[in-house]
């Protein structure tokens, strides 16, 4: 079946511009996560959605970062006034979180490589 998809696969932008990154989770997956992976680094948690609410936004690095999710479907990560340090691969993951369980596996998209010039 279809996995997690992300678009665009690559984005090059100029410093100060806004960008929108899109994630389409696996159909039926209620949980959605955004991560940032800088070159040679591990995964940095950004935000978690359960349905269309975001119970944990603790990883967003600044108020230039925001995310929303429509229903239990598409999510958009927006970075305003991009800076060069925002350059990274942004990964999205989804999982099926059943009631009372948090053992479910995360399935990752291929990522969006953002380059801020």
């Amino acid at each position: 079946g279809a996995g997690v998809s992300q678009s665009p696969s690559n984005k090059v932008t100029e410093k100060g511009k806004d960008v929108e990154l899109r994630c389409d989770p696996i159909s039926g997956h209620t949980a959605l996560y955004w991560y940032r992976q800088r070159l040679g680094q591990g995964l940095e948690f950004l935000i978690y959605f359960q349905g269309n609410s975001a119970p944990d936004k603790s990883g967003l690095p600044s108020d230039r970062f925001s995310a929303e999710r429509t229903g239990e479907s598409v999510s958009t990560l927006t970075i305003q006034r991009t800076q060069q340090e925002d350059s990274a691969v942004y990964l999205c993951a989804s999982s099926l979180v059943t009631s009372g369980s948090n053992t479910d596996t995360q399935y990752f998209g291929p990522g969006t490589r953002l380059t801020v010039l």
């Binding site: 591990g42 948690f45 359960q50 944990d56 979180v97 053992t103 995360q106 990752f108 291929p110």
Partner: protein, 113 residues
């Protein structure tokens, strides 16, 4: 609180030899442990997980991992490495009641022909 450490940035092994990628964790409770693999320019792919039960967990592509509670470790192993196993491997831990996993920094596995 939860944390995970992958003490080796890189592991080199000859094809056909056994491989081990190390992971240790720290949680204040029962851990759920995961291994993921990332090939170049790709997202992370799930390999295996430990939730409860047998300490030895078998996963995709012939990989397995052993949960050791006393040593707080969850090392990834494979009896015979393939060149195609060369990739970046991430260990992750999640605490009961938390939906947010913590990932290690990753270990680059290089399998030489």
């Amino acid at each position: 609180a939860q944390s995970v450490a992958q003490p080796e940035d890189q592991v080199n092994v000859a094809e056909g030899n056994p491989l081990t990628v190390k992971c240790t964790y720290s949680v204040s409770g029962n851990p759920y442990l995961f291994w993921y693999v990332q090939y170049p320019n790709r997202g992370l792919q799930f390999l295996l997980k430990y939730i409860t039960g047998d300490n030895l967990v078998k996963g995709s592509y012939g990989f397995e991992a052993e949960f050791n509670k006393s040593q707080t470790s969850f090392h990834l192993k494979k009896p015979s490495a393939l060149v195609s196993d060369s990739a970046l491997y991430f260990c992750a831990v999640r605490l009961l009641g938390s939906y947010i996993p913590t990932f290690g920094r990753g270990t680059s596995l290089i399998v030489h022909p």
